[in-house]
């Protein structure tokens, strides 16, 4: 049962400012800037959260739910940015000018969110409710509401949910890391970014440098009627660096070009920031940004494309990552992003890509943004193949979806992006296996007679079955007779997923594999966000349609 108020308040007594004995006050709603209170509050929660969780589970059970789970999540985010206000877009430059705009030397933002969500299954029908007030009374009320919703829906015909079995786990997990980014001083972070910005601005032709660091910490506590109590600490580190070059001529319209370094976001600690070769990176992209000012317009046509990880990861995401989400295949997302061309009848048979193309789904990849100990159904993280030698061999599943592919275990793809969101099937990390034989990007370029090298992310758009897509990029080079001969602009490439991957005839090897990723994948109604990595090495694709985005 829940602890008594007196016992609860006794345990509160030691901590500072935030915990008040006021009826209805939110327990532990604050993460004050003082780390002492934070530590005490966290210690308290460790001993008491299971009792709070049990209130939800027992309430739901008592009201007739066959399954229930609760997620109590505290998340916090910090961003530190230097450079003139506004951020660089995809090669497009900063945003609105503001009146009275921010003139701090660095812009720091911090936010947190704390609350809980209860999900129940009643008569094979889901119900969910959530609140930021983490108190016994509120947990009882919310669990009751979740069951009421499930009951109302169960009364009309619904798809009865069947959950694949899962073991009970009592466990804790944390992102492996050496240095907690939230314990590094702002002084240190700002000093690093300021140095980088100064280095970038030294390059002639550079108008502005924007350097930033973002950190995310999710403290998730999960409990279910399966008997699981799982606590996880997940950390993300997201560095960002863009350089904008400017050329003004007397009468002509001034030229601008923005180059983003696309430093891969990772699930890792501050040691990542310290190990990056910032000076080399900023110097390189500063020179490229200046060179982009003189880039030639691309001639539309069909080309061989060499696509670097900083662009290819997004193509993987859109064409393979989303198309193998089993709920999408079955039609759960039909009202939002649509379905998938990879229908069930294609499993084991359909050719998605050439023989050298292999995709792995994996929530265990070190540093992967979707890497966790357990998913939001309480299923341990796993790794498996989606595409093997070009053939579709697997999907992304959850406890609810497993039976659709005749499996009696979940592959662990359930994810809720906050305490107020219902868990839905989400992409794990999906990565492209590197080439088996040693091949560097330089080798690949030297081996290519004519083509375009594409780096960085630009616009991206794909149809509702994941077939027709059109992607841009950030920086482009023409390749002629095995050499880069100058930069191009306004390149966009358009293709169809199976044709595209089937035209892949070379992939660089392991040493050149980069764990790129994105923190902002949208799915679901209501929409949720997901962070996910798509490691890959540079690869070559033959005979792809290229258009000029400045003259469509």
């Amino acid at each position: 049962m829940g602890i008594s108020r007196r016992e609860f308040l006794r345990r509160c007594g030691r901590t500072t400012v935030t915990l008040m004995a006021v009826e209805g006050a939110s327990v532990l709603r604050d993460w004050p800037l003082s780390s002492v209170a934070e530590v005490s509050a966290r210690a308290l929660l460790v001993t008491d959260w299971k009792e709070l969780a049990d209130i939800a589970l027992e309430t739901a059970r008592r009201l007739g739910a066959s399954y229930a789970d609760i997620r109590i999540i505290r998340s916090r985010r910090e961003t530190v940015a230097v450079g003139p206000g506004g951020g660089g877009g995809f090669g497009m430059g900063p945003a609105l000018e503001e009146e009275g705009r921010d003139r701090r030397p660095a812009r720091v933002t911090r936010s947190e969110s704390f609350g809980f969500g209860v999900r129940v299954l009643y008569n094979g029908t889901w119900g969910f409710s959530a609140s930021p007030l983490v108190t016994p009374d509120e947990i009882r009320r919310i669990a009751t509401e979740a069951v009421a919703i499930a009951r109302a829906n169960a009364a009309i015909h619904t798809a009865r949910v069947r959950l694949a079995p899962v073991k009970a786990y009592r466990d804790t997990w944390q992102t492996p890391m050496a240095k907690n980014p939230f314990e590094v001083s702002l002084q240190e972070k700002v000093a690093l970014l300021t140095r980088v910005e100064e280095l970038g601005r030294k390059v002639r032709g550079v108008a502005r440098v924007n350097a930033s660091l973002a950190f995310v910490h999710e403290h998730k506590r999960f409990a279910s009627t399966e008997g699981s109590y799982i606590e996880q600490h997940i950390y993300h580190t997201l560095p960002n660096l863009t350089v904008t070059a400017l050329r003004r001529e007397a009468s002509a319209r001034p030229e601008i070009a923005t180059r983003n370094a696309f430093i891969p976001p990772q699930s890792i600690g501050y040691e990542y920031v310290e190990q990056l070769k910032w000076a080399e990176i900023v110097e390189q992209i500063a020179h490229e940004a200046v060179e982009m000012l003189s880039a030639r317009e691309v001639e539309p046509g069909r080309y061989t494309l060499l696509i670097a990880p900083s662009n290819l990861y997004l193509t993987i995401h859109e064409t393979i990552g989303h198309s193998t989400e089993l709920d999408r295949v079955l039609g759960y997302e039909a009202n939002f992003a649509g379905t998938s061309f990879l229908t069930l009848d294609k499993l084991g048979k359909y050719r998605v890509g050439s023989k050298i193309v292999n995709f792995v789904a994996d929530r265990t990849t070190p540093g992967g943004l979707a890497t966790v100990g357990y998913d939001d159904d309480g299923v341990p993280a796993q790794r498996w193949h989606l595409i093997r030698e070009g053939i579709l061999v697997g999907y992304q599943t959850t406890r609810e979806l497993a039976h659709a592919v005749r499996e009696n275990f979940s592959r662990g793809c359930s994810h809720a992006d906050s305490w107020s969101s219902i868990p839905i099937p989400r992409m794990p990390n999906v990565w492209l296996e590197p080439g088996k034989e040693r091949l560097s990007p330089e080798d690949l370029i030297a081996d290519t007679k004519a083509g375009i090298l594409i780096e960085g992310r630009g616009s991206y758009s794909i149809d509702q079955q994941r077939l027709n897509f059109q992607f841009g990029g950030n920086a482009f080079w023409e390749i002629r007779n095995g050499k880069k001969v100058g930069m191009l602009r306004n390149v966009i490439y358009q293709s169809y997923t199976p044709e595209f991957w089937s035209s892949c005839d070379a992939i660089c090897s392991q040493e050149y594999w980069v764990n790129q990723g994105t923190p902002g994948d949208g799915k679901g109604e209501p929409q949720q966000t997901n962070s996910v990595s798509h490691g890959c090495a540079m690869a070559r694709f033959r005979n792809i349609t290229v258009l000029n985005s400045g003259s469509v």
Partner: protein, 504 residues
Amino acid sequence: MASKRLTRRAVLGVGGPSVQDRGPSPGAAPSRGLSDFLLDREQVRRLTEMLLSLSPSKETVVLLRRTYATHVRAAFNAITTSGSTYTTSVTVGLVVGNRLGVATADDVSEAALRQVVREAEENARSEWFGMPLDEGRDPLPGPQEYLPIRAFFESTARATPEARADAMRRVLAVAQAKNLVAAAFMTTSAGIVAVANSAGLFAYHASTDAQISMTFRTRDGSGSGWAATSARDFEELDVEEAARVAAEKAIRSVNPRELPPGDYTVILEPDAFADMGPNVTALLTGRRGGGGGIFGPDLSLLPAERVEVGKPITNPLYTLRSDPTHPKLLGMPFTLAGGGFGFGGGGLGGGGAALLQAGRPTRKITWIEKGIVRNLLLSPAQARRSGGEPTPAPTSLIIEGGEGTLEDLIRKTDRALLVTRFWYIRALNPILGTSTGLTRDGLFLVENGEIKYPVKNFRFNESWRTVVENTEAMTAPYKRVRDALYPAVRTRAFTFSSGSDAIE
């Protein structure tokens, strides 16, 4: 215990929201939870007064938002997930020593309110979070007059899980009856938002909304139709009519013909036009970006074309005006000026100086009439400089200039592609205003005033500026999409650049 309860009640008052009763609502009596949750005007006034009295600063702004949101989702003719969420956000911004500090709480208990004021002050004094302000900044706006807008309907706030499930059941029944497979998504929300500042401004607004969208496919997957509708009053949400439209589009879109990519005259239904329609801010500020300048003042990149009142600026067919009182919009009577409004936490240091101007009234204002500028966008500082009145942002927009219905427009059309909606739109080039995207769920060829046959989906690459300049005809405005009221328009030379086999 009793004394603590009294303290909280004394702060927050008792009773539920004083809302317009629209008669008996369906389903069981409302849960006490919601009544306590949606604070009424007096409760909020007491709460904000308490916060302002706790603040050490004479320049303090308080924003409060509480929302109760529900959703029901369906796929393959069955309900899949469904839920509800309670969110609260209290933001305090205060100025100490010419620096603005902002803090947010997700709770309205006395402890949380005291804490958030303390944090805002700490942030103002902090070298990291305190935002330096101009000495000559605009003073806080004092008490304002607001347009009377009643946007709260009991029927929506009190819609029970049974009533909501039943609305979805009726949609699915239409699909079943026509042998179609339905996916759908319905939301309801009931919320309050308030602004108060130490210059005496107090603004409070309660609103509800109900929205539904649905995609119907034929069983063989060769046809797909989409429809959506919304209403602030749950009893007015016409789910059956939307279902009828989605079903008809699905059935009529079977076996689409392939047409070659190229430039086409198109009729854009409101949901499609909303994605490619006029950007008022871009038109009025004369800059060629998507919504403002490309660089800040020290790098003013593109020379601003001079926009003046009385100057023709766009296609004379277009009249663009804001009217938050329009019965189909019932928009916000005041602006929040972007004050760090995430739910359950929000951001520190992200609000910006604009937060201090929160609570300014919106009003009815005509921006562009028959293509000619009637009013410019003026921030308080710009208004001061030019000696005019500041204008609010162009919210609650109505795009008008035409007459008649969509059926009338079709009847008067020689040849055009009728577009239901667009999908996966991404900006290509903000300077030119170009985007790429796809058609979806209902693309038909109209010829000699009639819908002749369905057409295979296209990818497009086009600019909203071209869509507006090339408009040759439009209906009367009739549909709310997000915060604006749109007509259907017929426009020339819309570029469909490649084909897509994707149906659903």
